[in-house]
């Protein structure tokens, strides 16, 4: 089997999953005890308005028909009007997505290399200090609630309460300082945009605003990645071919990084895919605590204010990102491990 065949198979296997997600979303939408018309138009809406809304959204049709209308809208990219902001949901998402992506990607860029490195090191040096520190991080990282960590950091770095005098270096709220004007939008990432615009103050401000949220978000993912890498590595290091490598006279460093890690990558890649999901989930907390204007915060607002179209729109975007991240992981895994494409035992 060739790589492209494998990718095609994975894509085909995704179809029922995507359809299933739409069904779940549809069920959620129908499970709302409130009439969406009233939720959208407000309690003072006139009956005709409500009837018109119902007709427009085919809310009086039988359920299967409603589902097909709903699917039809989805396929044309129409996620409906936002119940919170009263603009199309797609527009809202487009505004807020880059902020979230900037935050999430930065967090993963921190969590992945550090987690993998510590995981490998700790597996290779059992009961040394690297191992002890890593195990501590792995245990504590998954036990600390991310929202609590965020709050603690906020208290820790607060101007008045701050334990160390870093009050001017790291900022606690938003993406930019209050008086700054955002750089012209190219990628939507303030750090990159400000660099492109050669706006140095903006860049510094964007970076200092990014550090704390990204660290908070990354910390939990780091712990998960570390834990899985470590256990994967410990298993691989007990294999016969590691003994063979040692018998060949391969230096220990290469045994660990070349022979063992290539094989342990399976666990790491899988968990890296999963952490994309938990990072998006963590966004909801981090963004609302650090006041970061991303889709996580938007989602929370929608959830708290019965903004159902916004909610479903968010659900789709995140699912698409999550599923494609896992697809990338699968393909990467196929390139790393010849078993996947070549078959074999």
């Amino acid at each position: 089997m060739k790589l492209w065949e494998y990718v095609v198979r994975r894509l085909i296997a995704l179809l029922p999953v995507i359809i299933g997600v739409t069904v779940i979303a549809f069920v959620l939408w129908k499970a709302i005890p409130i009439d969406p018309a009233i939720a959208y138009l407000g309690p003072k809406a006139k009956p005709e308005q409500i009837a018109a809304f119902h007709a427009e959204w085919h809310l009086n049709d039988p359920l299967p028909n409603q589902y097909f209308y709903y699917m039809g809208r989805l396929l044309t990219g129409n996620l409906g009007p936002s119940f919170v902001n009263h603009v199309p949901v797609t527009e809202d998402l487009a505004t807020y997505l880059p902020a979230t992506l900037e935050l999430t990607i930065t967090a993963m860029l921190f969590a992945l290399p550090v987690g993998i490195y510590l995981g490998i090191k700790s597996a290779a040096n059992p009961n040394k200090w690297v191992d002890l520190v890593s195990r501590f991080i792995a245990i504590i990282g998954v036990a600390i609630p991310i929202y609590w960590l965020a709050i603690m950091l906020k208290i820790f770095f607060h101007e008045d309460l701050g334990v160390i005098g870093m009050n001017n270096l790291l900022s606690l709220d938003g993406r930019l300082g209050a008086t700054m004007t955002p750089p012209p939008t190219v990628t939507g990432f303030y750090t990159i945009d400000s660099l492109l615009a050669l706006n140095y103050p903006d860049f510094v401000s964007a970076v200092t605003h990014l550090i704390l949220p990204a660290f908070t978000l990354g910390f939990a993912q780091l712990a998960i990645i570390l834990r899985m890498t470590r256990s994967g590595m410990i298993e691989v290091l007990g294999q016969d071919y590691i003994r063979t490598a040692r018998a060949k006279g391969v230096p220990e460093r290469q045994v660990v990084f070349r022979h063992a890690f290539r094989n342990a990558m399976n666990a790491t890649l899988t968990v890296a895919g999963l952490t994309v999901g938990s990072a998006f989930a963590g966004d909801v907390y981090v963004e609302s605590i650090f006041n970061w204007p991303g889709i996580g915060k938007y989602f929370l607002q929608a959830a708290l204010h019965a903004g159902f179209t916004d909610l479903l729109g968010y659900l789709f975007v995140v699912t698409v990102f999550y599923v494609s991240a896992n697809l990338v992981v699968d393909v990467l895994y196929a390139t790393v491990d010849p078993h996947v494409t070549l078959g074999g035992a």
């Binding site: 029922p16 959620l28 709050i151 603690m152 929608a302 959830a303 708290l304 659900l315």
Partner: protein, 320 residues
């Protein structure tokens, strides 16, 4: 005298015989206990958990204040803050001997509320993990054992649920259903079972290939017997490990939902809700957010360490 001693010896010999007959099981148990005791962290985890359970049961005796009970739809529910002694409350007191964890903006003793929170968290954990693991394991068992179209359907459904990040699905469900602890439980069961299905199916698939399954078939075992006697007992240990870990994660997530304002209703002694109440006075009264968080950490840590310890004990590769 003689009669007594002979009676005694009869009991003793019966006991001895029991010990001898079950020597293997006993030594197995002893070995497990040894492995567990050797694992200091797991013991620590167990201590944490036992402490939390003890607090959950003893809260009425340990607390300084007791919650009011309100009758809602025929069920008694706790209500905080308590106003049975009006005028006696001082708001936002820092931790002191009288109020070990301070007081909140209503003057509620934070320490008492925290103690009552233990039972809420444990209850949520129990009522999510047990149904989720039972349902998930059963489906996984069926999928792995039957194979074919059954497996395909179950695993596709599992995939669908797994393709939405679990917290986000839980938030969406809670948003739709409204604020209540019960709804949190439903939402978490819905998001949690697929993990067990996947786990158990993997186990079953590997155990199905072992020769003792073939051997059992060759002596005439029916599929039901294979499934329940041969495959299930051999695939259950990772489920136990996973369940004990998930206990912690469920408590963490439920508290998170409470924190976001989607879980337990305000005024409940739920740690997540308590943190979010503290969020408003973050810089005036940081203790309000700090202590419930620590409680969550201790509980989650306990279950996590216990799960790790159990994995070490139950993992056949580590045994002998």
């Amino acid at each position: 005298m003689a009669v007594e001693s002979s009676k005694e010896t009869a009991v003793v010999t019966a006991w001895r015989r029991f010990l001898k007959d079950h020597a293997s099981r006993i030594s197995e148990l002893k070995y497990s206990l040894f492995l567990f005791r050797k694992n200091k962290l797991a013991v620590l985890g167990l201590i944490f958990i036992l402490a939390v359970i003890a607090i959950a049961f003893l809260a009425p005796f340990l607390a300084i204040e007791r919650p009011a009970y309100v009758n809602i739809n025929g069920q008694l529910q706790q209500r905080w803050p308590v106003y049975d002694q009006p005028g006696n409350y001082q708001v936002l007191l820092p931790p002191s001997l009288a109020h070990p964890f301070g007081t909140d903006h209503f003057g509620t003793d934070w320490y008492s509320k925290l103690l009552y929170g233990a039972s809420v968290s444990l209850e949520i954990g129990l009522s999510v993990v047990i149904p989720a693991s039972v349902i998930g394991s059963f489906l996984g068992l069926v999928a792995g054992f039957e194979g074919g179209i059954m497996e395909e359907v179950i695993m596709r459904v599992t995939d669908i649920f797994l393709s939405i990040p679990s917290l986000i699905l839980a938030i969406a469900i809670c948003a739709v259903l409204g604020r209540s602890i019960e709804h949190v439980t439903y939402a978490l069961i819905i998001t949690w079972w697929p993990w067990y299905t996947r786990l158990v199916r993997g186990q079953v698939l590997s155990i199905k290939e072992r020769q003792f399954i073939e051997a059992a078939k060759s002596v005439g075992a029916r599929p039901s017997r294979l499934m329940l006697w041969h495959i299930l007992p051999n695939s259950i240990s990772p489920v136990i490990v996973q369940a004990s870990m998930d206990f912690g994660y469920v408590i963490l997530t439920a508290a998170g939902l409470g924190f976001l304002g989607l879980g337990a209703p305000p005024g409940t002694a739920e740690w997540g809700v308590m943190i979010s109440e503290g969020l408003n006075y973050l810089f005036n009264a940081p203790w309000l957010a700090v202590f419930p968080g620590l409680a969550i950490i201790v509980t989650v840590l306990g279950f996590n360490l216990l799960g790790d310890g159990l994995r070490d004990i139950l993992d056949p590769r580590l045994r002998r």
